[in-house]
Every structure is written in structure tokens, then in C-alpha cells.
């Protein structure tokens, strides 16, 4: 297929402008107001007005008080992402190579459950992991849990919920990458004395890396900010940063701290992404 | 805007050319020039072929005539009217695209009717039925393009363009995707349709056999310029450049120097042997040239034997390779000066087939030889076998 010739001129601008303006107004500019809010004098409020002090101390306060939920959020998200990677890779691989003419149908089936409400799906896990439910009973039987052990209100439940809810974000980019791999390459590797395990690690895995990178990023980033799973499946001991931020905005009316925490979360994510992508060596994420 | 008015070609009263005329047409891209000062006259009603290897500028030229590409400079005139700046949807020119470009969401009927509907032509149904009958696709009228075979799609593309009775029909390598047998039958088919319909066809191709079979006039293009233009026989029998000599069929090119020019015959010293070449078949100003002779024109015989008719005789050859192809035998003969010459001998049964290592004599009639400028590359235009 020949390269598409792009048209130069004003029409391109005009077409792009409405969307660009919307995003500039409601995505870019809000970051400035987020920064500004995070630097407000904490003693202010929506009523009394805020005094703009360059209160970098807000960040110190915020971190001092809430570093635990922050770390927890990152750890939970990381573990969940790893689980998603394993489950998602199996699923993506199966669909890409082993499904023949059912490929499209299977792909759509992967996404179909996720057209149901996120909250309802998470509530379902409350039922599945309930104290008198099957899973807990089996775990107790297998001595994984003590006789009065629970799954709900533990990090296990939160991570399970996260891993479930963000699975499609992992599967789809993985699939896109794996699907592009020419199966004849794997055949060639077996011809050259590689057993299936070696073939996987030496051929399939490296070639699927771009998908692994996008998948892990698209899973980790939203998972780090999520608090629905933590609060529906967890307890006060599993509070995560997302819930703190929401709480500070709505209940405690402490916008400055909330904004500061938001900024911190974002900065950490950006930094992690930056080093991760550098390390993985793939520039093409899109 | 009355497109109908533009579409009817006025035979211009000011005596200007009533066919397609390209004048000094140039197309420059960033970094290279695709078409360089092209001058071309395509007579009305003729079947014209633009022949050349990929990258020679023939498709770019075609697209400029269609209006899909803007020339950097130069003019395009059709029946006396300058259409250089006219938009493609206002030109009375239609194209059969290389990959057919059939609209996948419309059925065959609507594809063919597309141009008529845009021009708000009357009697659409009648015209479409006639055209579908012409290309023998009547039963498929309600099918979608994806449901047809390659050959059928090709005929739809042809019908879709033809139905608009354009001044010029452009065909951009339309047979490239078809297998050999289908290609041959489509070549005959398209030629038949052109003769029946009487429109001007401009056919772009890299296949020299295709161009020679179908066209009345062939223009050989190379690197943006026209090397030679003429009837297929003229181009083949009397090429004016090494490119044309090698691109159309095969040629043996042997070093030689002109020793004498008479009124109608030139004498050339070819590695010590004197050969004659008619003056109207010498295409070099200087004295250093390539003596050209086509392999099928070279007669091969045993050393010392009297050959068919006196002509240029070259002794001292040794057979270095024999390939029996059924219809003919291809010999490679190593000459005393080291060059291997190719000889096609038709297996008429009158002469025996020689063996490798045998000593032979070659000869040819002077009126078949031609002389080209030695400054030109002897391998220009030679078809490389591509993977």
C-alpha cells in the first residue's frame, strides 16, 4: 500500500482545534490549577478563601501523614500488574496462536465482561471472597488460611480485585504485539534445536516486549490510583492513596493536601514510567 | 458547472492537436526528478503504451494526466484544451487503477454507475447493462467486489472507467496482479474493446511483451525521459539506444569503430572483422559504437561451411553453453575477443544441434544489425531476474 499523502494547509488545524481546545482547557490547564492548589495555605477553605503561599511545606505534611497509603497503592498495583501479566500473557498467546477462526470472537469475549459496571464486578468479589463462601472454605481446608481466617479486608482481596478489573488493559496490548509475531520464527527456532521453553524465552518473549511494556503501563497506572477495590474489598488497614485524595477533597475539605498528594502520585508515576521505558528499551508505546 | 460541456471534445478550429499532448511536462519531488521535460503526442483513437522499468516515471506521468498529481511545470492539452490545472473530477479522463480501487461498500452495479451518477447522466440503467454485457459480468451485477475473482474485478474496473466515454482512458499496469494465462486473455480482451469502442487508451506497463502485443505506438521511458517512441516493430528492429535494445528482448552488443561512411552503408571494424550496417540504422555521431544484433538474427554454422546468404561472417567462435528450450536452442558462443554472444536457433530440424566445445562460424545479414553510441552503458535496460 502506498504511503498516504497528507494534505497541508489550514483544514488540518481546523479539524484538530475543537478537540485540542477541549483537552487544553480541561486537561492541561487543570494541571496548573492542581499545582497552584497544592501550594495554597492549608488554613484556607472554599469559604474563607485561599491565600496563595508557596507552601511547599504542604508536600512535606502530606507525605509525612500519608506515605503509607502511597506505598501501599504502588505495591498493590505492582503485584496486581504482575498477576495480570501472567494471566494476560497466557490468554493473549492462546488467542493469537491457538484459536484459529475463533480469534475475533474470543477477543470480543475478553472485553465483554468489562462492559458491566466496574463497581458491580468488584461487589461480586465481595461475595466470592466472603467468609462463608467457597473460596474461603477451600483455603481453610487446604490450611492456607487459619480456621477463622478471612480473605475479605485483606490485601489479598484488594490485589485480586485489582488484577481482575484491569486484566483487559493488559490483554489487548499484549495480544496486539503477540499477534504480529510470525509463527514461522518459532518453527525456525525448533529447527535450530530450541525446545519449547527456550523458544519462548529466546524468540516469543523478546518479540512481544513492546506489548508487554504498553500492557504493564496501561495496567499499573490506573491501578495505582484506584481506591474502589481497596475500599470495597479491603479495610481501614488497606487504605490507598486514591482514597485518601478523594477523602481529603470531599470530607476533610483539605484541597491543598489532596492536591499535593495528587501531584506526588503523578510525579512518581511519571518517574517510574520514564525509567521503566528506558530500561525496556522500547520507544514505541502507541 | 457543466461537466458535460467540457467532456465533449471540440475539434479545435484553431488547428491545434486533437489528441493528448504533453509539453515539457516535469515533475520534481524532494530529492529527485521523476519526469523530465516530457514531450509526447498521443493520437486520438490510438492504443498507446508507456513502457519502462519501475521508477522510470511512467506512473507519475499517467497520474499527472489523470489530475491526481500536479506537474511542477509543463502543460497537458487534450483536444486543444489546456487541462493542466483542471481538477481530476472535471477532466474527461478516467483511470483503471493498478489495484482496481473498487469501492468495497458498493455492489458491482453501483461501482460501474458511480461516474454516471456523479455527472447526473440520464438512462443510467441502460448504460450500465450495456457495459456489463460488454465485459461479460451481467450475472454479477449485485455482488460486492470482495466476492469476485481478480480477473472479474479487473473487468469491473475497466467497465467503471469506460462507461463514462472519456477522451482518454488511462490504464495503470492493470494486469500486474493476474496470472499468466489470464493476463494473456485480458490483453486480447482489452485490445478488442479498444478497437470496438474507438477511444484513446494510454496503457502503462513494465512488461515489454504486453506493450508490444497491445499497442499501436510504444514510448519507452527511462529515468523520467522518453528514450524512443514508435511502432513496436520499429522499436524492436531498430533501437536507437542501448536501453531500448536491451529492454525490448535481448541484444548482442559488440565493440566496433566506424572506418567508412558511404551514402547508405557504414563500414565498421569489429575486432578486426569488417561488418557493414545501413546508414539509417546507425545511431551515433562519433566513430566508436556498439554493433547490435538480435540473437534470433544470428546464423550459426560449422566452421568453413557456406551459410545461408552472404552477409557479415564472423569466424572463430566456440560453443560454451547449449540450452534446449524446445522451440529453439539457445547457444552461448565465445568469440576470439573473449565476449560470449547469444544465438537463438529455431529448431526447424534443418540444421543439427551443436555441442559444447564445437568450433562454429556466425553470420548475419547487414540489414538486421544496428549501431549504437559506445558512450552508452551496454547493460542499460537489461532485465535483471528479480526474486
Amino acid at each position: 500500500m502506498a504511503e498516504m499523502t497528507r494534505r497541508r494547509g489550514k483544514v488540518g488545524y481546523l479539524l484538530m482545534i475543537p478537540a485540542a481546545v477541549w483537552l487544553a482547557l480541561f486537561f492541561v490547564i487543570p494541571f496548573y490549577s492542581l499545582v497552584a492548589t497544592s501550594l495554597y495555605d492549608q488554613a484556607g477553605s472554599d469559604f474563607r478563601g485561599w491565600e496563595m503561599t508557596y507552601a511547599f511545606g504542604n508536600y512535606v505534611d502530606a507525605l509525612q501523614d500519608y506515605w503509607q497509603p502511597l506505598v501501599r497503592a504502588i505495591v498493590y498495583a505492582a503485584v496486581a500488574t504482575l498477576i495480570c501479566l501472567v494471566l494476560g500473557y497466557v490468554l493473549a498467546y492462546a488467542i493469537a496462536f491457538k484459536s484459529g477462526r475463533w480469534k475475533t470472537l474470543l477477543l470480543v469475549l475478553v472485553i465483554a465482561p468489562f462492559f458491566t459496571s466496574f463497581l458491580l464486578r468488584t461487589l461480586s468479589w465481595q461475595l466470592i471472597l466472603a467468609d462463608d463462601g467457597w473460596i474461603v472454605s477451600i483455603f481453610q481446608f487446604l490450611q492456607i488460611l487459619g480456621d477463622d481466617g478471612r480473605l475479605l479486608a485483606t490485601p489479598f482481596a484488594v490485589i485480586t480485585g485489582l488484577a481482575y478489573n484491569f486484566l483487559p488493559f493488559m490483554v489487548l496490548p499484549l495480544f496486539a504485539s503477540i499477534d504480529k509475531i510470525d509463527p514461522r520464527l518459532i518453527e525456525a527456532s525448533t529447527d535450530l534445536y530450541a525446545n519449547p521453553v527456550a523458544g519462548f524465552f529466546k524468540v516469543t518473549w523478546p518479540l512481544s516486549l513492546p506489548g508487554v511494556v504498553s500492557g504493564t503501563l496501561l495496567t499499573f497506572i490506573p491501578a495505582a490510583g484506584d481506591y474502589i477495590n481497596a475500599q470495597l474489598l479491603g479495610s481501614t488497614n488497606t487504605r490507598v492513596i486514591g482514597g485518601v485524595i478523594d477523602g481529603q477533597f470531599t470530607d476533610a475539605n483539605n484541597s491543598a493536601i489532596a492536591a499535593a498528594l495528587s501531584m506526588v502520585l503523578m510525579i512518581i508515576i511519571v518517574a517510574m514510567v520514564f525509567f521503566y521505558v528506558r530500561r525496556a528499551g522500547t520507544e514505541e508505546l502507541l | 458547472m457543466s461537466q458535460q460541456a467540457e467532456a465533449t471534445a471540440p475539434t479545435a478550429t484553431d488547428g491545434s492537436y486533437d489528441g493528448l499532448r504533453l509539453s515539457q511536462l516535469t515533475k520534481q519531488f524532494v530529492g529527485f526528478t521523476a519526469v523530465q521535460d516530457l514531450d509526447l503526442d498521443v493520437p486520438r483513437g490510438s492504443f498507446f503504451a508507456l513502457l519502462g522499468p519501475s521508477g522510470c516515471g511512467k506512473t507519475t506521468t499517467l497520474r499527472m494526466v489523470a489530475g491526481l498529481e500536479d506537474p511542477t511545470s509543463g502543460t497537458i492539452t487534450l483536444a486543444g484544451q489546456d487541462i493542466t490545472k483542471t481538477k481530476p473530477y472535471r477532466r474527461p479522463v478516467n483511470t483503471v487503477f493498478q489495484n482496481y480501487a473498487l469501492f468495497p461498500h458498493l455492489d458491482i452495479y453501483e461501482n460501474v454507475a458511480f461516474g454516471l451518477r456523479r455527472r447526473k447522466s440520464g438512462e443510467v440503467e441502460k448504460q450500465v447493462d450495456e457495459m456489463l454485457a460488454l465485459v461479460e459480468l451481467e450475472p454479477q451485477r449485485r455482488k460486492k467486489p470482495a466476492q469476485l475473482s481478480g480477473g472479474q474485478q479487473q473487468r469491473v474496473a475497466l467497465a467503471r472507467a469506460l462507461i463514462n466515454k472519456p477522451e482518454v482512458l488511462l490504464l495503470d499496469e492493470p494486469l500486474g496482479a493476474l496470472d499468466l494465462k489470464l493476463r494473456r486473455s485480458m490483453q486480447i480482451e482489452i485490445k478488442r474493446i479498444q478497437t470496438e469502442v474507438g477511444l484513446t487508451f494510454v496503457h502503462v506497463t513494465h512488461d515489454q511483451e504486453e506493450a508490444m502485443t497491445m499497442a499501436d505506438t510504444v514510448a519507452v521511458m527511462n529515468k523520467g525521459i522518453i528514450e524512443q517512441l514508435g511502432a513496436p516493430t520499429e522499436l524492436y528492429e531498430n533501437p536507437r539506444s542501448t536501453f531500448v535494445a536491451n529492454f525490448l528482448g535481448q541484444s548482442n552488443l559488440i565493440e566496433g569503430t566506424i572506418t567508412n561512411r558511404a551514402a547508405d552503408l557504414a563500414t565498421v571494424d569489429m575486432h578486426g572483422i569488417a561488418v557493414s550496417i545501413p546508414m539509417d540504422r546507425t545511431h551515433t555521431d562519433g566513430d566508436a559504437g556498439w554493433v547490435g544484433i538480435r540473437p534470433e538474427k544470428v546464423l550459426i554454422g560449422e566452421e568453413g561451411a557456406e551459410l545461408d546468404a552472404p552477409g557479415n561472417t564472423i569466424p572463430g567462435g566456440v560453443i560454451s553453453d547449449v540450452s534446449f528450450v524446445g522451440v529453439s536452442t539457445l547457444y552461448l558462443v565465445r568469440m576470439p575477443w573473449g565476449q560470449e554472444l547469444a544465438v537463438f536457433a529455431q529448431n526447424t530440424g534443418r540444421t543439427r544441434i551443436f555441442r559444447v566445445g564445437e568450433k562454429v562460424e556466425l553470420s548475419w545479414r547487414p540489414e538486421y544489425a544496428f549501431l549504437l553510441d559506445q558512450a552508452q552503458d551496454a547493460h542499460a535496460g537489461a532485465q535483471e531476474s528479480d526474486a
Binding site: 497528507r6 497541508r8 480541561f26 497466557v90 475475533t104 463497581l119 464486578r121 470531599t250 | 480501487a101 456523479r118
Partner: protein
């Protein structure tokens, strides 16, 4: 044994797929639940009550209606703006094209809590703290749906061969006619897919909506609030319906394309 080895990956993959449907099964199951007490989320007995008395729970249907209205409006706006932008990014060249590409990508890569917080601070700083509600939710939804629409339409558009439009021009179609008769019909499936995606993203959003909703309650917010005191089973009816609709659409699309494939086999 050999059969097992050969099909191991496929079996594992299907197991993972089945696993994704388990919570949905729970949702469907719970829609028929007759709860003994409000607080404990557990299957106690079978009833059709939830289906027949759909709007029994106070506030649920109102929140549902609000979510639908916002989703419809946000989908409309996001699809239009996003489609225009997709055309610009694929078909045109202009200074700032690569920055625009980046701008489109970024919202997809940010956590919802950050998107929601920053938008909230904008509204507060702009003096709209008292006017949080329908329109602020709408604005937020268009904002995060835009990227998904652009990406979806863009991939459909990029896959289109532009020779078709050249052919249309060659056959006397003006640029407008070419767009209406060739380009648009071929992009339409991508646009519809993007609209569908946008609708479900908007309908289901909680985190961003929660921060910017003021006193309004969307369906996800209703479920969240109810989860603390006991969720009415009718929400599971909604969940089941959502799932059923998406299954129907999926199956319909698949059947349609299979029918077209069958037609192709007929020569």
C-alpha cells in the same frame, strides 16, 4: 496425554477467559436474589421481584437516568470532536501534529484520581465550586472519552487505502461527494465502535465523576453509596441488562460478519 500437551496453552487460556466471567455470573445470580438482610451480601433465595419492581430502591432510577443522559450527550460531543481530530491526525499535515498526538495520548495514561482532582481544582479556582453538577460531569466525561474515540477512529482511518478516494475523484466526484459517498461510509464502523466505547466509559465512570458531581448522583455513585448500607438487588438487574446488551451486540456483529464471509464463499 499428548492431546493435553498440545492444547495446554489453549486450555489455560480458556480457563482464564472463563475466570473473567465468574463475577458476571455472580451479578446475574444476585439479580435474582431475595436478601434476608440488607447488610450482608449473600445469596439467600430466588425471586423475580427485583426484575418486576425495577425502580423500587429510592434514587436508583434517578441516578440511572442521569447516567444515561450524561453518557448520551458526552458520547455525542466526544465522538464528533474525536472523529474530526482523527481525520486531522491521519489525513493532514500541520505544525503541532506530533504534539497533538501526544496530547491525545496523555489522558489515557493518567490515573483517574489525578484527572479528577486536577479538574476539580480548576472548577474551584474558576469560582464554580457551587455549580458542580451535570455540566461539570459532562465536561469531565468528554475529556477522557476524547482520547479513546481518536485512537479508535484513527486506526480505522489509517487502515483505509486512499486510492479509493483518488478513484472517486477520477470518476467525477467533487471532494464533498467523495467524502459523503466513499470516505464516510467506510469509516462509519470505526466511528460507531468509538461511540459505543465512549458510552460505556462514561456510563461506568466513578472516580472522576465522584469528585466533580456536586450534589448529583450517577448510577456508579449510587452503587458506591449503597454499598456501605446494603446494596439493593436491583442494581444487579442493571448490571445483568448491561451485560446482556453487550453480548447481544457482540453476537450480532459476529453473526453479521460471518454471514458476509459465507456470501464471499459463493462465487
Amino acid at each position: 496425554m499428548r492431546w493435553l500437551r498440545e492444547h495446554l496453552v489453549l486450555i489455560l487460556g480458556l480457563l482464564v477467559l472463563a475466570y473473567t466471567f465468574v463475577p458476571i455470573g455472580v451479578v446475574v445470580l444476585m439479580s435474582f436474589n431475595d436478601p434476608e438482610t440488607r447488610n450482608i451480601y449473600r445469596f439467600d433465595g430466588f425471586t423475580l421481584h427485583n426484575w418486576t419492581n425495577f425502580c423500587e430502591a429510592p434514587g436508583m432510577c434517578d441516578s440511572l437516568w442521569l447516567s444515561i443522559r450524561i453518557a448520551l450527550l458526552a458520547t455525542l460531543v466526544a465522538t464528533i470532536l474525536g472523529t474530526l481530530a482523527a481525520f486531522a491526525l491521519v489525513r493532514h499535515d500541520f505544525a503541532g501534529r506530533s504534539s497533538s498526538n501526544l496530547l491525545i495520548f496523555l489522558p489515557m495514561a493518567a490515573p483517574e484520581i489525578v484527572l479528577g482532582s486536577s479538574l476539580l481544582t480548576l472548577f474551584v479556582q474558576g469560582g464554580f465550586a457551587g455549580q458542580l453538577g451535570f455540566w461539570t460531569i459532562f465536561i469531565a466525561h468528554v475529556m477522557f472519552c476524547l482520547s479513546f474515540v481518536v485512537v479508535t477512529v484513527r486506526s480505522r482511518l489509517a487502515g483505509m487505502n486512499d486510492t479509493l478516494e483518488q478513484a472517486a475523484a477520477d470518476l467525477y466526484a467533487t471532494p464533498t461527494q467523495t467524502f459523503m459517498r466513499v470516505t464516510f461510509p467506510l469509516v462509519l464502523p470505526g466511528i460507531l465502535g468509538a461511540a459505543l466505547l465512549s458510552f460505556s466509559l462514561s456510563f461506568d465512570d466513578f472516580i472522576i465523576t465522584n469528585l466533580n458531581s456536586g450534589s448529583e448522583t450517577t448510577f456508579p455513585m449510587f452503587v458506591w453509596g449503597a454499598s456501605r448500607v446494603g446494596v439493593p438487588m436491583q442494581v444487579n438487574v442493571v448490571g445483568t441488562l448491561m451485560f446482556a446488551v453487550s453480548v447481544v451486540i457482540v453476537v450480532a456483529v459476529e453473526l453479521n460478519s460471518r454471514r458476509r464471509m459465507k456470501a464471499l464463499a459463493v462465487r
